[in-house]
């Protein structure tokens, strides 16, 4: 049971760190838009802009870091991983 609690926490984190949520792009966004938005967020974080430090989810705002943004860009470059993230993000989009 103890391991299960950790698993649930990790699963929840994976869902709420969905790359589409982190980058604040729609699930239908194209590759170029994703890259552009990712680079913009990295630049804003490097410049220390407050607005870049958090991103919204249907379950409240979460902290956004440069590592998270880079990982999100890399995840969405892989079509197989993008498929899964797109499916989850699409479902969450309907909840907003």
């Amino acid at each position: 049971m103890t391991a299960d609690t950790d698993d649930v926490e990790n699963l929840l984190r994976a869902r709420l760190e969905n790359p589409f949520l982190v980058l604040e792009v729609a699930p239908a966004a194209g590759g170029a838009e994703i890259e552009r938005q990712g680079q913009r967020l990295l630049a804003e974080l490097a410049a220390g802009l407050d607005g870049a430090r958090r991103y919204p989810t249907p379950f409240g705002a979460r902290a956004r870091t440069a590592e998270l943004v880079r990982a999100a860009i890399a995840e969405l470059r892989d079509p197989a991983r993008r498929l899964v993230h797109e499916w989850w993000a699409g479902g969450l989009e309907h909840a907003r």
Partner: protein, 483 residues
Amino acid sequence: MTTAGATIGFGARGSLARRGPFLGRAGTLAAFRLLAWTVVWGIVLRNIGGSVGVWTGGSLGAVLSLLIGVVIPAWFFVVFPGWLAFRIAAPHGMRRLAFAACWMSPLVRLRDLPGIAAFLDVAADRASTGWADLPADAWTALAAALQADRRRSLTHAAHIVDALAHLPDGARFPWLARRHGVEALVIAAVARRDWPAAARYARIGQGRLVGLLALVADAARGGVVPASALWLRWALSPMRRTMLPLVRVLARRDRIAAGGGATVTPASSLHARHIALLETAARNEEIRAEDVLALATAWQPALDDAALAGLHARALELGVRDGAARAQALRDQVLDELALLLARADGERARTPAPAFVESLVARTREHELAHIRASLAAFDGDRVAPSLHPLAAWERWLGLRAAWERAEQNAGRAALATLWRTGVRDRLWGYCCAVSHVHGARAAWASYVMFDWLADRAEVVGDLVAVLANRENARIALGHLR
């Protein structure tokens, strides 16, 4: 290690001639304590009598001086030592005073004192010396729960609290422990804004402060609590100054951010409902089996062959090479996550015919639960119960298996459990409990009684009459040693 089929023997109570000196060390201490009470009570009564005499003689100032300077403190020391120990001495780190006050309290048995000392050490976050000699009892169990809570082993703390909530008749859970011991636990949870944990802990407690904290936890989790009830409880409870800001906020119905958790918005999509359940589970809140099964039923059309074909088509658009396998993997992923949630959920799983997806979910969860029990058994297999394994540690080890078994009892079906019982749990656990009793004797009596009683109940559920009778007898013997 004694095997199944044995009953424990704590050693026959020999004749007086074989027992040595008349009273023994415990008896001497008890006698000394009684003498001390007699002396102190005598002095107090004499002082009160003297004060009344002086007052009637007309010297009001002398009376007041006597009352304030001598009588009242002594009166508190004698009549409310528990209050002195846990409200004044312990919070200020005066361990010796707290211990002396407990020693003087007529509410505290001598045998509880070592456990109380250990609890006070843990509450003060101090290393406890002599832990190895301590018995397993409610106080040391609470100390272990407090320690687990502090170390963020919340599931373990929850197991201990649940076991304390379901103690069999005769297993002592002293009033002071329910009051002051549980208070410390609830306060630790409230301090980090973990309202589900606070509510869980408060269920086994008593007293005005615990009552107030339970109400606060309920209100903070969104429960409907009238402001008047909150204020009334606050007015009657100790630590009013500390609790005032919190009560004020709740009475105004402001939302308090739970420690580390996000607010949950009304979920309208399956995905959002799914994540909302994950979030509830991650915060250690209770989730209901019917909610998980309802979600699984709702998932079915979104993950049927037609839906997966659509996903496959999208995979092709994206250039994914093995789209069909990826789509299927997604379905399995959702099923696995639901199984994780269902394994944690409370409540019965309806046995009426269900959609295929739900049937798969229930079957998968059942497998996980049984596998979990089997994995827990490994800790008891070949266990060399040595004096170095503290009786409380032995009892804590049992808690995991207990939780897993009771959950499986609700859901896995009698036949599967009966098989498990006969093919491993019965012999191993029975032998383990006997070994703990044999090795530690009276120090493990409380823990042994609880474990044997539980074993007998489980044997009754699966219809193992031999085990029922033998373990009831074992429990009776252990209980005798407690008295």
